[in-house]
Symmetry: C2
Subunit: 489 residues, 2 copies
């Protein structure tokens, strides 16, 4: 885009009018070129931004411009002032959090969504937005072998999907909570349950709904980091006996630290027995069920009340795109529908604004439709399968290396391990691995994560970028070994 | 894009690999061309989609494809199967809800955001995302003459911004609600207040937080649809005397039906006296304060605790982009921060994930930065000023027409009115205007809204698209008169 620098003009003394079609084409082509280069060569950049806190802000003026500026100037500033502060989630060497991918079809879908700029709050406000959302969530549901009793909706994040699940579960209690609220009433204490390895968003949903952190029981896990059903049963019984009101259980398929899978069928039985809402957080790993060899992954979920999986995690769709299915959307409507006069519309149609908190709804179905069609089920499965193979490969190398130690099973594409040289105690091992984590990430060569498992500091590698190949995993393994040698010496 | 049809290929028996740079360029250019055409000629399409419920869904197969498809096919299907179901928010003849604009710089900003695909949850996960968000929210704050005690954050919607405000207000009560929750405790009933003309999102926020619909007091308004401070005072006192716990007041600058402005300074006094959180919903009209002649619009807001305005409404930024400022972000952190091991990071930095419910955060600051710089304050003011002028013009025509009647003041760009021919009673007037509303929207020539004011069915025209010019308002006025003649005959 630097070619455009010569086109810079001084700030205009006239207000900018609408960007003309010619100007849009010129800058649009330039951006498409830049992105095409970027997508193919994002590994040229250090993965973690090499800047200090405040450094990017200091490059930007305190106040915005009075007069409009040439778009080429803005793009030039993006390259010089913003790009150095970008951590490259698109790099094939990004192994932190859950590694994700924006892909060509999803980026172009988002572009078209931005241009159409429809708000899919009502059917009427763009029938295609509502109906395509129904279709693509249904396509994905079929691929994941979920029963057709589940109806889908696209939200921004699993955080919101899980909040909606908890709100629907609260409404299912039939305690007039919508009308009377929760405070100042003779209501028992509401209690929710999830594993101590569950995602923080479950707790956050409870905080928002006023459940209270101490009433979100974090149930202990077994040696493989799976929720212990006996502990859950015990907790539910204890709360019931204390006069509290258990109402919600969140199971996880692919916990964030180790990607462990909770025992869904047993949890579903328990929930049925105690009339508890079962929500399944499959934000990361749910999509694995579209691989033929993992078609049984979601077994038991057919008995759940709701389930979420995020195409923006491991289905090659840029953020944000979270798919949330539930069997009784009417409960969401009962919990949330508020229809003022200016939003009233007639007929038997889905107005998705009634299904949640947010009135404004981007047309997210479009990019997901692009992705599902561009890759097809088998294409998507191919890439996910390759990531699982790469993780298995890394796990095998770790298992075969005398001074490395794997710290959790590897059911999917995430590997937890540590460097464990002989004659070091736990505290020394923690220090060594902490140093390795910092050195690797600060190098910019790769970006890995960390967690704590059984009080042991663990390195964590999550594989999920569509451009990550075996050569990147080999290079990472070399880097890990080199860095280990460095920190021990 | 139809030129690409000849490039269609049969479904590939090989999994699609990553879209190549060449392929991305080819389809990217084609989409940029399509969008450039669309932005310039969106008025060629009927504004309201001319389809029946189910019609778009019926064009789409029940199941997604097993194998990937050529991208050109997908785009061809977008044009043939999706586009007919789009209601054209981008049309200059879109006057429903609040009319909005995606503009060149915002669309290109969204494109770049999709490609970078960063999640701005932590400072570390892209320092530039966090620091640019701080900068652009600060630029806008200055332009709106808000004091620097307000710190900004970008959320997806005003619905979430207002939910965060209410959650922070609840946390400010210092009643251990984060830890103990609300139910099963000896807490008084929490009460929130807003006007009966406030946006439904205030009520929805209360439903999510478990306040209960009957504890969200909808305070009556005066003849100009502004909240009556005496009624608010009375309600707060009555609740306090009943042993309830008033905690939150939402004022509106630009209510949805009539764009009325609540008496902020008086409400701020009252809130100070009763120690209530004052939140200002200026989602639509807040940006008017960047016009020199309306620099005093937000007077009184300096005493508020929080305020929201939506660049995706009237600041030429595509959805979603809502800017939320509050003085005590620490309360949001107290309410919501949950930091698991794998998200821990060191140092004195802003991790915006701690400021709200959603962990995933798109890099929305980029498109807002593009818009603020491309237009500059004066450029943005120019377009807003023009919309206000056009609304005034339409209001004057209505006032001068013997058989039309304006139903509310026009402080900004929205006009409420009805056709009121002589010798018709209220019920007949309602019927006539209802018919006009349907006929106009079904014609596809313009898309107007409706509301009910003082039990009278009202037509409502909201002007906000950057391409809406005087000629479009003239054509609309002609259409209104013609349609009136049609329904009366």
């Amino acid at each position: 885009m630097n070619d455009n620098l010569q086109m810079q003009s001084p700030p205009s003394p006239e207000p900018q009018l609408h960007m003309s079609a010619d100007e849009f084409r010129q800058h649009g082509y330039a951006l498409i070129d830049w992105i095409a280069e970027y997508l193919d060569h994002s590994e040229r950049y250090p993965v973690q931004a090499q800047v200090q806190p405040g450094e990017i802000a200091a490059r930007l003026p305190d106040a915005g411009p009075e007069w409009g500026e040439d778009f080429a100037n803005i793009i030039a500033d993006f390259e010089s002032d913003i790009l150095p502060g970008i951590t490259h989630w698109h790099s094939p060497n990004f192994f932190n959090y859950f590694a994700i991918s924006a892909t060509g079809p999803s980026i172009l879908g988002e572009l078209l969504t931005a241009a159409l700029n429809v708000n899919g709050m009502l059917w009427l406000t763009s029938p295609a937005a509502t109906e395509l959302e129904g279709r693509v969530t249904d396509w994905l549901r079929r691929w994941l072998q979920l029963p057709d009793s589940f109806q889908g909706i696209i939200t921004d994040t699993a955080s919101i999907s899980s909040l909606l699940a908890m709100a629907a579960a609260r409404e299912a209690l039939d305690r007039n909570i919508r009308s009377e609220g929760v405070s100042g009433r003779d209501l028992p204490r509401l209690c929710a349950y999830t594993s101590e390895q569950a995602h923080s968003s479950i707790t956050k949903a409870g905080l928002a709904l006023g459940i209270g952190q101490e009433n979100i029981r974090l149930i202990e896990v077994d040696a493989d980091y799976r929720l212990r059903t006996d502990a859950l049963t015990h907790a539910v019984q204890a709360d019931s006996e204390a006069g509290h009101l258990p109402f919600f259980v969140a199971a996880t398929i692919g916990t964030t630290s180790t990607t462990s899978v909770d025992p869904i069928p047993q949890m579903a039985q328990l929930c049925k027995r105690h009339q508890l809402w079962l929500h399944v957080d499959a934000a990361y790993a749910g999509v694995v069920a579209l691989l033929d060899e993992h078609a049984d992954l979601l077994q038991g979920c057919e008995q759940a009340d709701s389930i979420v999986t995020n195409p923006h995690k491991w289905l090659f769709t840029n953020v944000d795109c979270s798919v949330f299915w539930l069997k009784r959307p009417n409960l969401l409507k009962r919990a949330f529908s508020v229809v003022p006069q200016y939003l009233q519309s007639a007929g038997e149609i889905n107005n998705y604004m009634d299904w949640g908190v947010q009135l404004g709804r981007r047309f997210r179905a479009l990019k997901l439709w692009f992705v599902l069609r561009y890759y097809g089920r088998r294409g998507l499965a191919h890439h996910i399968r390759e990531h699982i193979r790469l993780a298995r490969l890394l796990a095998d190398w770790i298992d075969g290396a005398p001074h490395f130690e794997r710290l959790a099973p590897v059911p999917f594409s995430t590997v937890c391990f540590r460097y464990a040289p002989p004659h070091t105690d736990e505290s020394e091992k923690d220090d060594l691995n902490r140093k390795m984590h910092s050195l690797i990430n600060e190098s910019g060569a790769a970006f890995i994560s960390q967690t704590v498992l059984n009080k042991q500091f663990s390195l964590r590698v999550a594989i999920g970028n569509i451009q990550t190949q075996e050569k990147h995993i080999r290079a990472l393994w070399q880097l890990l070994q080199d860095t280990a040698a460095q920190v021990i010496s």
